[in-house]
């Protein structure tokens, strides 16, 4: 494949960023918006060309049917040692091609959507510049040929996320949310960095292909290197996963994601639902052969994922802010993907069930990106209409926003896992993988799936039904403008039908084509459970009634904890402010000013004191002078004698 198109995929967004960033302030909003869309559209087309060429051109398939990993280009960027070299390159393989499609599609949709949503906002051009920056970084991340390139773009993605969350920089909440997001992910990235350092120290390479194609060799490199009873490889993988936890908002590093909803809603759709947050999943998938080697690491992933999934689902059941509900739902769904990756193997390199977990995870990544972006964009349309994030200000919206209503319903059905919507297929595979790993995990995840259906429909009913819309000040909600409707419809369509894709043919753990089997038992039971959950939600929230309040009063403690997200934020506040800020920083600053500085000043003071102390010597009395003179001479003689004898 020629180098031009892949290169353009990366360069075009970067150029748009620089161009809009530097020249944007001289343009009109409209021009900037259209330019942004045009650039993104071109990128999307190029990405599709690349991905489809990759999937369908036999050139990229080996004789055995295995899809090849192709490095389109790989340019040395920074050379540490002879072996450790950061290269900037373009790796084309099934998952990166998949992500290329996902990212460009969603990004393009968001670009179009924002034309309507962000209309008239101050800093419109800046917004598009940041979107372009984000897209560039995300694309760079997924096509990374080596782990350090991924780290580079990982950081860039974090920074663009920071900029976009803090887009409304005059709002305190937005500023602190962006700060929180950056710092939490930074903390996680520290783990990632350490993981990279450990891994590269032993393997002497950053290259993904070198590592993943020869997991045995990697294991050899780590021969005998242990720390606290675990192989250093495990530690490295866990640390790298910590990076993924940060970005993908796994417990306990999830706290930034709900707050990140302070950003504009399209941004939430793009970054905090569809693309950036799955970077962690992508990272693990990228390194899957290594994780498959280490039972400890993959089990860690499963445990973290399972807990997070349940936790986020519980919390989502009680939230009021629709974006927060969606945020927690995102956390929960990503946890699904993580679990799925974790359960794909059993350690020692043994892949379970043809690696269905891996495939399912990627599949869910794909479908989730579509329907979650859809849901967020719907939420954006609603917010655009009522100027509030709070569902208590919505209710009964079906009457006013039919398109939004229908598309949102499709999104909810998809996420709930109802046949024939896309979520059904991917979630089913995940559950199947879980059951084959351990029935307990399978049951647990089924429960979470039920919860998912419940809280999504809780939200749906509360927004669109429940009771008549309370009209304030004669403000009647209106349907979203055209630029916002197009993406909704497009994504809804995709969510409806992409489940029928033969996903296994494109993506599998060993890149061999693989046929998906729907396991009827699991499929039926999970749909059944989901329907039950939807039924309960319907019972409780379709019409205004006092069931929710009763429920709440029945389990007040639980409700409280869920509502307050199990007080994680407060815990973090306590740790950062009380312990780190007041307990470490302040004492250090005090120590510096008073002890260190005091010592230095102390030298000066002591010198001065000495100076005053001895001033009596200079008494002005000649006799005193002579006396000192004589004593001095005698002492001098004594010194001579002393050294002479001693």
């Amino acid at each position: 494949m020629s180098i031009v198109i892949p290169l353009l995929i990366l360069v075009l967004p970067l150029f748009m960023f620089l161009f809009l960033g530097l020249a944007g302030c001289k343009m009109s909003h409209k021009l900037a918006g259209w330019l942004g869309c045009l650039g993104m559209g071109t990128t999307t087309v190029l990405a599709y060309i690349t991905a489809l060429t990759y999937y369908y051109n036999p050139e990229f398939t080996s004789a055995a049917g295995e899809r090849l990993q192709v490095v389109i280009f790989n340019q040395t960027w920074l050379q540490f040692t002879d072996y450790l070299v950061i290269k900037l390159g373009f790796l084309l393989d099934p998952i990166s091609a998949l992500l290329l499609i996902v990212i460009t599609t969603i990004s393009f949709m968001v670009h179009i959507y924002s034309l309507g949503y962000m209309e008239g906002e101050k800093g419109f051009q800046r917004y598009y510049a940041f979107l372009a920056l984000f897209t560039f970084s995300m694309l760079g991340l997924v096509v990374a040929t080596n782990i350090f390139q991924m780290y580079i773009f990982w950081e860039l993605v974090g920074a663009s996320s920071y900029l976009l969350i803090g887009f409304y920089y005059t709002k305190h909440s937005a500023v602190s949310a962006s700060k929180k997001a950056f710092i939490v992910t930074r903390f996680a990235d520290l783990g990632f960095l350490l993981g990279i350092l450990i891994l590269s120290y032993y393997t002497q390479t950053f290259n993904f292909i070198d590592m993943t194609n020869n997991p045995g060799g990697v294991l050899m490199c780590f021969e005998g290197a242990t720390f606290m009873g675990c192989s250093l490889l495990t530690w490295a993988l866990i640390l790298i996963f910590v990076g993924g936890m940060g970005k993908s908002a796994m417990m306990p590093l999830h706290i930034w994601l709900p707050d990140a909803m302070e950003g504009p809603t399209p941004v939430s759709a793009l970054i905090h639902a569809a693309t950036m947050v799955v970077a962690g999943v992508y990272l693990v998938a990228r390194m899957f052969p290594l994780y498959a080697l280490e039972w400890n690491a993959s089990t860690f992933i499963v445990v973290v994922g399972a807990i997070t999934a349940f936790y986020a689902a519980m919390v989502a059941c009680t939230q009021i802010d629709i974006k927060r509900i969606l945020a927690f739902s995102t956390i929960s769904q990503i946890a699904f993907m993580m679990v799925s990756l974790g359960v794909a193997s059993e350690g020692e390199g043994i892949i379970l069930h043809h690696g269905v977990g891996y495939m399912a995870s990627m599949f869910h990544l794909f479908t989730h990106a579509m329907f979650k972006a859809l849901l967020f964009l719907c939420a954006g349309a609603l917010i655009h209409a009522v100027h509030s994030n709070d569902y208590t200000h919505m209710h009964g919206m079906w009457r006013y926003m039919p398109v939004t209503h229908i598309t949102c319903l499709i999104g909810c059905l998809a996420i709930a896992g109802i046949w024939p919507f896309s979520g059904f297929f991917s979630k089913d595979e995940i559950l199947a993988a879980c059951y084959s790993w351990s029935p307990m995990v399978g049951a647990w995840m089924s429960m979470v799936a039920a919860l998912t259906a419940f809280y999504m429909f809780r939200m749906y009913f509360l927004i669109f039904w429940w009771k008549e819309h309370p009209i304030h000040h004669g403000h009647v909600p209106h349907e979203a403008p055209l630029p916002m409707r197009i993406p909704l419809i497009f994504l809804a369509a995709v969510s409806c039908c992409c489940g029928f894709l033969h996903f296994g043919h494109f993506v599998s753990w060993n890149r061999m084509p693989y046929d998906i089997h729907i396991e009827l038992g699991i499929a039926l039971s999970s749909v059944g459970i989901a329907l039950c959950a939807i039924f309960i939600a319907w019972k409780m929230y379709f019409k205004e009634n006092d069931l929710p309040v009763k429920m709440k009063n029945m389990l007040p403690r639980l409700w409280d904890w869920c509502y307050h997200r199990f007080y994680w934020d407060e815990l973090y506040m306590f740790v950062t402010h009380k312990i780190i800020f007041n307990g470490i920083c302040r004492p250090i600053a005090w120590f510096d000013r008073h002890i260190i500085d005091g010592t230095m000043n102390g030298f000066a003071i002591v010198t001065n004191k000495c100076s005053y102390a001895i001033r009596g010597l200079q008494s002005g009395q000649v006799q005193m002078y002579v006396w000192i003179y004589l004593i001095g001479a005698l002492i001098l003689g004594a010194i001579g004698v002393l050294f002479l004898l001693g």
């Binding site: 200079q618 008494s619 002005g620 009395q621 000649v622 006799q623 002579v626 006396w627």
Partner: protein, 89 residues
Amino acid sequence: MFCCGVYGFITRKNMIAILISLELMLNAVDINFALFNRYLYPGHMEGMFFTLFAIAIAAAETALAIAIIINIFRVTRNVDVQGLDKMKL
């Protein structure tokens, strides 16, 4: 004798007395030289010569010192050495 001179220098208040003490010290030196010459090295006369010169120098010193003390006396009407502490510390 040297020690007496030193003692005198340190304890006397009157500058003239101090001057006399100084003379004592110088004379002690002279005697030292003369003695050493006479008893230790009777062959040469170096010590003796030195003594002669030292006496001359002592005289010059005394003259100068007295001149200055008189100057002081003119200003302060006093020859008390402990009063001379306008400049100190």
